[in-house]
Amino acid sequence: MNDQRTGRDVDVLELLDLRIPAESAGVAEAADKVTETLTRLSVPEEKRLVIGLAVQEALANAVVHGCGNDPSKEVRCQVKTNPIGLVLIIVTDPGPGFTSELLPDPSQQESLQMDHGRGVYLIRQLMDEVQFVNGGNEIRMWKY
C-alpha cells in the first residue's frame, strides 16, 4: 500500500474484498462485515465505529448514486491494513462518478436543515485522508 501521505511503500495485508449487489441491505451487511473484521483485529471501538460509518456512507453512495439502486449492478469494497495498523478502504462502483470538489458544504447555516448531502462531508470528517479517483466512482480512504 503506497501511503500517499508519508510517501512510504508499506507491507499490505488484504483483509476483505467484497462484491455486493447494489441494494441497501447489501450496504448494511458489508459495513457490518468490515466492523466485525476490525473487531477480530482488536481495533479499538472508537476507531471501529468511525471506519464502519465511513464505509456505510461510501457504500451507500456507490449503491444509490453509482448504481441507482439497481441490484443487478455490483459495488466492490476492499479493506487493507499494514503492520502499523493503518486501515485503507476502497469502494468502487460502475457509475458515472462526480466532482467531489463541487459539493456544497452541508454545515453552512442555510444548509443545516437539508435532508441529504452530508455523506461525503461526513466521510471527510471521519477519516484521516480521502481521495476520489477515476472521476469519482472510486473512493479511497485512510484511517491512521
Binding site: 448494511a28 451507500a60 443545516l112 435532508d115 448531502g117 452530508r118 455523506g119
Partner: protein
Amino acid sequence: MDINVRKRSQIQVIQLRGPLRLGLAVDELRQTLEDLTAGGDTRIVLNLAEVPMVDSSGIGLIVRYLASTKQRGGSVKLLQPSKFAIQTLRLVGVLNLFEIFDQEDVAVDSFV
C-alpha cells in the same frame, strides 16, 4: 430495526433499537414519523439509547422531521443518544439544532 411507539401525555415516544441507516431502518422510521405527523402528532421524543450509529440518511430524516414538526408547533427531541451518535451529529453541524435529554420524564415534560 425495532421501532416501538408509546404515547405519554400527548407526547409520542419512539424507541429505536439497532443502527439507524439507509434501507429498512430509515424507511421504517420515516413511515412511523409520517404516520404520526399525518395523525397530528408533532411532539416527538426519539429514544436513541440502543442505536449504536446514525448515518447521514438517518440524520437527514431526523432533521427533516425536526423542521416540519417545528413548523407545526412541535419538535423532535433526542433521548440518550450514544457518544458516537452525538459525535456524528456534531461533525455534520446539526447537534445544536436538537434538544437532548438523559431522562424520558424530563424530555416529555419539556414539551409543556
